[in-house]
């Protein structure tokens, strides 16, 4: 249990708690707009940015963010080009990102970059710079979503009706892209690129099972994610497991439990 009092574990806990608010919150909007796969795609492209950061000696998370932003715009462009096969754009951008990442990592061999730490996360290596970055992203996301909550609801529920009401769809789509890229770039260090989409989508999947109102589901996604993040980090710390993976598996356990309870009630 000594690990729980160490500084690196406490930093991990703070970072995890902050991500546990923002990732599922944005994820809820993405899932409801049928963009669940976008998180995964941006995360993979973000890895290429991280690799470039290492090769060039620039703060990797910042370069990852730039790449994620570029990818989200590229997806929008490709979606228009392949209107009826919109998921094509996601597959193209995702594989392109992974290819670029592995190319850049191979270039940076001399830098002894630990690739797996970005694929599966390395929450114990969070530094103070990372925490400041995560806190800043949390503030930006909470402010943006909090101030425009009802408009985001309208945009998500019925984009056409929102447009007829005069809400600027382009602005909201752009804002969502930027916020998603932000949250992904900081989540990568915590759960890793391969697991990021779990934090975005599984809490939303849980809330769809039980929530009746939109307000309820917003509170639920955050509560579920926090339970999984805090519980997962403690379990991983005590039993010396991979923290990112433990959090994700805990999320899936919660989902299965909720499904079982719901089906049980119906029978």
């Amino acid at each position: 249990m000594d690990i729980l009092t160490t500084e690196f574990f406490q930093r991990a806990l703070i970072g995890g708690v902050l991500i546990g608010i923002t990732a599922p919150l944005l994820g809820l909007f993405l899932v409801l707009r049928r963009l669940a796969m976008i998180g995964d795609t941006l995360a993979h492209v973000s890895i290429a940015g991280v690799a470039l950061g290492f090769v060039t000696g620039v703060y990797p998370i910042a370069v990852g963010l730039v790449f994620a932003l570029a990818a989200s715009f590229a997806i929008e462009k490709l979606r228009k080009a392949y209107k009826t096969y919109a998921e094509l754009s996601i597959a193209i951008i995702m594989s392109g990102g992974v290819a670029l990442a592995s190319l850049l990592f191979s270039l940076g061999k001399g830098f002894s970059v630990n690739v797996t730490s970005y694929l599966f996360g390395s929450i114990y290596t969070l530094g103070n710079t990372d925490l400041v970055w995560i806190a800043a992203v949390t503030v930006v996301i909470l402010a943006s979503v909090g101030l425009q909550f009802k408009e985001l609801f309208m945009m998500t529920f019925d984009e056409d009706a929102a447009a007829v009401n005069g809400l600027p769809a382009r602005y909201f789509n752009l804002m969502m892209s930027v916020l998603t890229a932000l949250v992904i770039s900081v989540s990568i260090k915590i759960v890793g690129a391969l697991l990021v989409s779990a934090l975005l989508t599984i809490p939303a999947a849980c809330s769809l099972i039980v929530a009746r109102s939109f307000k309820q589901s917003v509170m639920l996604v955050v509560a579920i994610a926090e339970a999984a993040v805090i519980g997962g980090l403690l379990l991983a710390g005590v039993w010396n497991l991979a923290p990112g993976a433990t959090v994700v598996l805990l999320l899936i356990a919660i989902l299965i439990l909720l499904l079982a309870v719901k089906n049980g009630r119906r029978v």
Partner: protein, 269 residues
């Protein structure tokens, strides 16, 4: 001359041009869908827009509300070009019933209230007055009991009432209905159309309803289209058929709606 009842003192006329299309053309990938269309909708008209799939109904609708730009020509709403139009609260919009995911976590109340969210309300909180407007809209559509239910759990007919309530909450001058009866059983459709006709007769609302099948409305709109353009047919019932200028006060109008419908139902039985 339209009679004045006080509510129209400022505007004066009761026959404002609500929608005006001038030489509107649109094509998808060089396939012309709409060519040089001129059409105007006067205040309190009821326009039924009919056409088969691919006739350009939805395209036209999207151009009217500014979601699409015509390749040529211009669209005006209430005398203003769409690009400069900023009184979107004057327009109520009822989408196709199937347009949302039944699992979406939103209550009836949340959906109806969202009708109030417009550019002007950005960053503002939902006020008590907003809640009262919502109550009135729920009451008018007889769905106050459903306010706390998740919208996906309701029947098709109930969902329609929810979307109508959302459209009515702003006391719109123009109500746009996009195939409102798709996927709804005949009996419920009958009730819905009855309500729409009633609203047109007794309230100061201009209607634009898009459908691929307007059989149920023939008796109201007549057998002959007022205008045909390509595969699009416009059936129109002009406002001069009706008593002019009914009251235009929000709460009065929404509250009165249910009462007047109940009175009529009582007369019929």
């Amino acid at each position: 001359m339209p009679q004045s009842n006080g509510y129209h003192a400022a505007g004066g006329a009761c026959h404002e041009e609500v929608i005006k299309l001038t030489g509107v053309s649109f094509s998808y990938e060089n396939q012309p869908v709409i060519t040089n269309l001129n059409f105007s909708v006067q205040e309190r008209d009821f326009v039924g827009l009919i056409g088969s799939n691919g006739a350009g109904k939805t395209t036209l609708l999207r151009m009217i509300v500014g979601l699409l730009k015509p390749a040529e020509g211009s669209v005006s709403l209430f005398g203003k070009p769409v690009s400069q139009f900023d009184q979107w609260e004057k327009i109520g919009y009822v989408p196709q019933k199937n347009a949302f995911n039944p699992l979406f976590p939103a209550t009836v109340r949340e959906v109806v209230l969202s009708g109030l969210y417009s550019r002007g309300k950005l960053f503002k909180r939902i006020s008590k007055v907003d809640q009262i407007k919502c109550d009135d809209a729920l009451h008018a559509m007889r769905i106050e009991d459903l306010a706390g239910k998740r919208i996906g759990m309701l029947s098709g007919g109930q969902q329609q009432r929810v979307f109508l309530a959302r459209a009515l909450i702003n006391n719109p001058a123009l109500l746009i209905l996009d195939e409102p009866t798709v996927g709804i059983d005949t009996e419920t459709q009958e009730g819905f159309f009855h309500m729409i006709r009633h609203m047109h007769k007794h309230h100061n609302i201009t209607f634009l309803m898009v459908s691929h099948d307007m059989d149920r409305f023939r008796s109201y709109l007549g057998d002959e289209p007022a205008r045909e353009a390509g595969k699009l047919k416009f059936y129109v019932r002009h406002s001069h058929d009706l008593e002019n200028c009914v009251e235009n006060n929000l709460t009065h109008s929404l509250r009165g709606l249910r009462h007047s419908m109940e009175d009529q139902a009582a007369l019929q039985h």
